[in-house]
Symmetry: C2
Subunit: 222 residues, 2 copies
């Protein structure tokens, strides 16, 4: 059985978990344990590169990018990058927007401050970072809303990794109670559709000790 | 002739520029002009997705990820992702480390605060962000140093996109004078080797109005 090592509230771990389920690739989830990982991963794994996938043939893939591109090549059914070169470019464009920009602007400033710092023994969240994150989230919701006026899913007619990446980031921000859903009804409607997919169930069941998500976090109709 | 639209001090634009030159793919550099872009790019291009490549057949690729994966598929000579699945996974692992983590931890906090804010009409740089960025850079330099004690280039024996992504981010931080080179001599030696590649010349010649880089920025032996 392949093994996926992850942190529950990491957006890149979440996107990989959803991806594996959407591709119907069996795996066991392993919450990262540094003392266990040392035996498995290469010595160059001194930096945090989660999520990391240990394939059944012993192949080690670290980081969502290595995992996704490797699995897309080897398991071609139900490609979540889509089929034509135009579709794939559009999916990857939106993935980058969320994995890099939304992550740096919003997730890092809000989720890392509210949760990660607590575990790393740092002091209370930096209020300037929280302010920045909260100020930045609106432009992404505006953009999703704009796309939802024109498309069924973020990158076009079909559900793709663009939806997975966006929802993975947003779900982390939602967990810590920092999503203002009521201002963007069609974004909320899109997120409800993502939440109702079986691949999303594990994400909704995640619980971090000492950090309780708002009641609507795991409700499909919220 | 293909056209690459970019901002000069964007790490993702820089990685794409180096990549195109390393692949010997002819292109014209277009500094982004919003009024020009509107005619070329799709209407869904309402968000900043630079760099963006207009291929000779009219294909539009937005964001480094869409550009790199498209060109790797269509122009297979001199793959900067390397050959074996293990090499490709290792290259992509390190790319993610710099494109997402270093970007969010360092580049965003330092370069965006020092330069981008100026152009967007914001006030002076946020000193808390600068402090965070400066505090974070050390762990990445430690890691590059660790790799350089064991390898010729970041992902192994050969120059890859891992080196390109790392150097693209670092070059932006270096432009604004925030790299402490003397603490990590073997990282400096690696960066000198990257700088001396012909593909890097354009990066070293970049100048942003009102922001003068330190003297060593464009020196090959610094």
């Amino acid at each position: 059985m392949r093994e996926l090592y992850h942190y529950p509230l990491c957006p890149f771990g979440r996107l990989t978990r959803i991806y594996l389920l959407e591709k119907s690739l069996d795996h066991e989830l392993m919450v990262d344990l540094p003392w266990k990982r040392k035996k498995i991963f290469s010595e160059n794994h001194v930096f945090s590169d989660l999520p990391a996938l240990l394939e059944m043939d012993g192949t080690i893939l670290e980081g969502w990018y290595a995992i996704v591109e490797h699995l897309e090549l080897h398991y071609r059914s139900t490609s979540l990058l889509r089929v034509t070169q135009k579709e794939r470019a559009e999916t990857r464009r939106i993935m980058t927007l969320f994995n890099e920009m939304f992550f740096a602007d919003v997730t890092k400033n809000i989720v890392f401050e509210k949760v990660m710092n607590k575990y790393m023994g740092n002091a209370s969240p930096d209020s300037a970072s929280l302010r920045k994150g909260n100020a930045a989230v609106g432009k992404y919701l505006d953009y999703i809303s704009w796309l939802m006026d024109r498309r069924n899913w973020l990158a076009g007619d079909e559900f793709t990794l663009a939806d997975v990446c966006a929802a993975a980031q947003i779900s982390c921000v939602d967990y810590v109670g920092s999503m203002a859903w009521d201002s963007h009804p069609n974004v909320k409607e899109w997120y409800m559709r993502v939440k109702s997919r079986p691949s999303f169930r594990g994400i909704l069941a995640d619980r971090i000790s000492n950090v309780i998500p708002p009641a609507h976090y795991s409700e499909l109709d919220f």
